[in-house]
């Protein structure tokens, strides 16, 4: 198996080199459109950024193999330029500056709050529109205008999940636990506020853990003793989710467990097995009930290129398409971000990743930010069951 894995990766490396060579040759014939990525692809949180990069590279391969993307009168070969910020805001700034030096106007990332806040001056000064996976509202409300939230924020999905669980599962008492880092802590605080507003009794609101914790039994022992109906893992990293679930269940916790971040079914299956059954998380075009054939083709190509799919990409597939579709709607935006911003207000295109023919790509965020600075992705609330996600309910944002 490992031999296969290694040889697949070897083949993949050769294929990538070949693809780069082919795309370089093609670039001589067609114009090149560089799209940047600045985010974390190493260290404990590598999964977040890696799923971004691989989603972009998969689409890059699909579009370039089809001859490029037609924007206005020209056809462009897509080139994804990546920078690993190692989850360090200083590196994120450096990455954004490198994007600016290369004349890139559209960047996906950063993945975390402090990185997204740090790059804001660089992006605004150098006319870069960026799509962070970070939730601080200041990034998306005026006078800020260059950041576009690439996913659904916890303050949007959290209340919907808690309300659903109150109405359908009789949840009354809730406990929160978060990693001691800016993103999870701010998500926890937002969750606590939302839970209290709904009338839930919050029995634990201050419990935290180091993000590199490997054994969560000591962290969860006092929380499980409080017997909450719902345990919320605020902003939990995919690497930690199965460990937290496993520890809670082994300590005898029988209530519900949820998070507002995207997770990966295989990671849950390997790390927690059946103990993860019933775990609730948020995904994108993730389940067979709603995914289109194009989504299935994307998953197949991703798996072919990288050996294994990551369910986090169900949401992260969208950012590059939003950029390209908006540029198609207004080709003048190719090197003019003000044109891009104007187009965002009225932009609408078919959502290629959902079965529903009426599903649209559009920018939203008026309710949360007072301006359209968020991509509309389906808020698919999933429940994990025996190695796969099942749709619990689908919501929308704005």
């Amino acid at each position: 198996m490992i031999k296969t894995l290694i040889s697949r990766r070897g083949l993949l490396a050769s294929a990538c080199i070949a693809a780069v060579s082919v795309s370089s040759m093609s670039a001589l014939a067609a114009d090149e459109l560089k799209i940047g990525f600045v985010g974390v692809t190493s260290g404990p949180a590598a999964a977040w950024g890696t799923s971004n990069v691989r989603s972009m590279q998969t689409l890059e391969a699909i579009y370039n193999a089809a001859g490029g993307v037609k924007i206005g009168d020209k056809t462009y070969m897509i080139k994804v330029v990546t920078f690993d910020d190692q989850k360090d805001p200083k590196r994120a700034v450096e990455g954004m500056e490198k994007m600016a030096q290369q004349g890139i106007h559209y960047v996906v990332g950063p993945n975390v709050d402090d990185g997204a806040a740090a790059v804001r001056p660089v992006a605004e000064k150098n006319n870069i529109i960026y799509f962070p996976y970070a939730f601080p509202k200041e990034l998306y409300t005026k006078p800020a205008s260059n950041a576009v939230l690439g996913m659904i924020a916890n303050y949007q999905s959290g209340p919907a999940i808690y309300k659903y669980l109150m109405d359908n599962r009789g949840v009354k008492k809730v406990a929160f636990v978060a990693a001691n880092e800016s993103d999870p802590l701010s998500q926890r605080d937002g969750g606590v506020t939302a839970a209290k507003a709904l009338g839930l009794e919050v029995v634990a609101a201050n419990d935290t853990y180091q993000n590199d914790t490997r054994d969560f039994t000591p962290v969860l022992t006092p929380i499980v003793a409080l017997k909450p109906d719902l345990l919320v893992l605020s902003g939990v990293a995919p690497a930690n989710a199965p460990l937290l679930i496993r520890s809670a269940r082994e300590l005898g916790y029988e209530g519900l467990i949820s998070t507002e971040t995207a997770q990966d079914a295989k990671v849950l299956a390997e790390g927690a097995g059946d103990l993860a059954n019933g775990f609730i998380s948020v995904g994108g075009a993730s389940t067979p009930e709603i995914a289109s054939d194009q989504m299935k083709a994307f998953v197949a190509k991703y798996t072919e290129m990288f050996g294994e799919y990551n369910d986090e990409s169900n949401t992260k597939v969208y950012a590059l398409d939003y950029i390209l579709e908006t540029l198609k709607a207004n080709p003048a935006a190719i090197d003019n971000v003000e044109e891009f911003k104007k187009t965002m207000d009225t932009f609408s295109a078919p959502n290629p990743y959902l079965k529903d023919p009426n599903a649209k790509l559009s920018y939203v965020g008026m309710s949360s930010f007072g301006q359209k600075r968020q991509v509309a992705v389906p808020m698919v609330v999933n429940e994990y069951k025996d190695g796969a996600f099942q749709t619990l309910f689908v919501g929308t944002v704005d």
């Binding site: 190493s42 590598a46 201050n206 054994d215 000591p218 690497a239 082994e250 300590l251 990671v267």
Partner: protein, 288 residues
């Protein structure tokens, strides 16, 4: 309270095993092996591949982790550290080399095994629930195995010829050489054993906490914390440091939970005060 003590003892056994290999290498060579955490990760991934993917028995997987890291450790000492130590008298040269190997391992592991958290099937199912203590049987088993590894390691150091040679080297390198100890052979053996301990620990703990490519650095930091508490280069110090840190975490996370994540703040503040009073840790180095 019983649960808190059980959690602390279990964590302590884990941590002590993690710190042992690091302190052995430091004691023998005065090298701070920054790649220790990465060796742990590699050991974990080998167990994941052999047990989780190929479906071979868990003991064989842990054995494969230990043997692989033993060979890698031996080669690292022979072709990297020995060369640098011969050519440079500055201690930071070996530190830089260790840091470079850590980055190298990080990159290779990420390339081969990917970015995802990996886990293996439970080695023993069921949970012990009595006397106010809840502890899954697999943790109990791994805790016992960790304890046995520590005891075996101590006995080997005390009663075998290579063990005595390594202790002599750790105490006084020149005197050991004058007494006929083959310095290069036993230094290489010591480095290989240290790496093997990291690999075995990674393999054992992969069955409990899984493994992912990014945790090497944090594991190394935790191991350094333990040997700072117990005293660098001293086996007993590493064990004491592991159990003290495990107990401090367990108690702190229960008693201080209402105040947010202050447990590590308290641990590190205490450590700073402790080190200012006792810079060599609890047991210090024999010659320090």
């Amino acid at each position: 309270m019983e649960q808190v003590i059980a959690n602390g003892l279990y964590l302590g056994a884990q941590y002590a095993l993690i710190a042992l290999g690091l302190t052995l290498i430091f004691g023998l060579m005065n090298v701070l092996n920054f790649a220790h955490g990465q060796m742990y990760v590699l050991g974990g991934f080998i167990t994941y591949a052999v047990y989780g993917q190929l479906g071979l028995p868990f003991p064989l997987a842990v054995f494969a982790s230990g043997v692989t890291l033993f060979v890698i450790g031996g080669l690292m000492e022979r072709y990297l550290f020995r060369t640098v130590i011969k050519r440079s008298h500055r201690e930071e040269s070996t530190m830089l080399l260790a840091a470079a190997t850590a980055f190298f391992f990080d990159a290779v592991i990420l390339l081969i095994f990917g970015e995802k958290q990996r886990g293996v099937p439970k080695i023993v199912k069921g949970v012990f629930n009595d006397f106010g203590v809840i502890l899954p049987y697999d943790r109990i088993l791994v805790g016992i195995l960790a304890g046995l590894c520590i005891i075996a390691f101590i006995l080997a150091l005390k009663y075998t010829k290579p063990g005595r040679a390594m202790r002599a080297l750790a105490q006084d390198r020149v005197a050991a050489q004058l007494m006929g100890v083959q310095v290069e052979r036993y230094t290489m053996l010591g480095f290989a054993l240290g790496a093997m301990l990291a690999g075995v620990t990674g393999g054992l703990l992969a069955s409990i906490t899984g493994i992912n490519a990014g945790i090497g650095g944090p594991i190394s930091i935790k191991a350094f914390t333990m040997i700072m508490i117990g005293g660098a280069g001293v086996v007993g110090g590493a064990i004491a440091g592991g159990f003290i840190l495990g107990m401090m975490e367990s108690v702190g996370l229960t008693v201080l939970r209402e105040y947010g994540d202050v447990t590590y703040l308290v641990i590190f503040a205490t450590l700073m005060i402790f080190l200012s009073i006792r810079p060599n840790g609890l047991m210090g180095k024999p010659w320090g």
